[in-house]
Symmetry: C2
Subunit: 194 residues, 2 copies
């Protein structure tokens, strides 16, 4: 199976022989997901862990006011999973929806568990990736506390220019925790400057 990008991704974190990489990747299956399709809905139990090969997803929550709050976007080389729901087989609090025609590689819970047993290095791999994720979430929280909306918008479009071009302003607003209208005003101000 074609799983080059996943192999490259894993190799960034842990040294793996090519037979180890093959063993790991044998557990992943490819799946195409059409734009608009959900691969996980709030309340469902997450039975897979996915890696984006192509396309883009939004991962969001519905807040207490019924509004969609985008937690993050997942394009090529990003993970889509609801760790809590996947590990503990409890209802998911997140929704994962394709915002482009996409392809993912996914692994089931059973296969993942077998893989952890078969190859303990996989524990290390996911430990390291999770620790990286913690750092990233901490940094995002600090950015939210120290930067104003305009600075956060600027940070987003310069840090993730590819994503910024592929998603709507409304979605960027939701991700940044501000209103669509305010994003529009920020953009107007930025256009003037140039």
């Amino acid at each position: 199976m074609e799983c080059k990008s996943l192999k490259a991704h894993f190799s960034r974190y842990v040294d793996l022989t090519s037979s180890e990489l093959t063993l790991i990747c044998e557990n992943y299956q490819q799946k195409n997901v059409a734009k608009g399709e959900y691969i996980l809905r709030n309340g469902e139990i997450c039975r897979f862990e996915g890696f984006v090969v192509s396309g883009c997803f939004k991962i969001y929550m519905i807040d207490m006011h019924g509004n969609e709050k985008i937690l993050y976007f997942a394009a090529e080389d990003w993970w889509i999973m609801e760790i809590d729901s996947f590990t503990n087989q409890i209802g998911s609090s997140l929704n994962v929806q394709a915002i482009e025609d996409s392809a993912i590689l996914f692994i089931t819970k059973t296969a993942k568990e077998r893989l952890y047993e078969e190859l303990p290095k996989v524990e290390r791999l996911f430990r390291i990736m999770s620790q990286k994720a913690v750092v990233a979430w901490q940094r995002r929280l600090v950015r939210n506390h120290t930067m104003n909306a305009e600075q956060r918008y600027h940070h987003f479009v310069t840090s993730y220019p590819d994503i910024a071009m592929r998603v709507t302003n409304k979605q960027i607003a939701s991700y940044l925790g501000i209103t669509q209208e305010f994003v529009s005003k920020i953009r107007k101000k930025r256009l003037k400057k140039k």
Copy 2:
């Protein structure tokens, strides 16, 4: 060595025999930290991973305006570490300071690495704990996006009543990402209601 609370903490995540627990805990050393003392400063390389036995710490960053931004408080049974700095031996972006006379159990990088080799279950343990941490940071971000300052204050004091009583309002304000003055106004409003 006395390391009951650490053993109990580990046992919550992975099933470990008492000899495994003992093996793990042999790698931890106890240390007393006086109020005000730093166990890690911005720029230093984090050479340990700590677990709070008693007392309380604040983990904070200095933002672009020179202001202290508290990322979290760590009291009994919480971890104090700078994952990024510890794992990659790069300069820390965080400061960790005792805000009460405290005692911690800590492990050095060398001991931690040996432990991962000796007992692969430790990889799993820290993988699971990191994954829990990711979920917690995600939830906090969503709370920041969906709740106003008053609701966040309320959430904090009801979720962590013990911490709320031990830290100053200024510190709570920093943790919540609002001003000290506004916390004062929220408190006034809440007192009136009762």
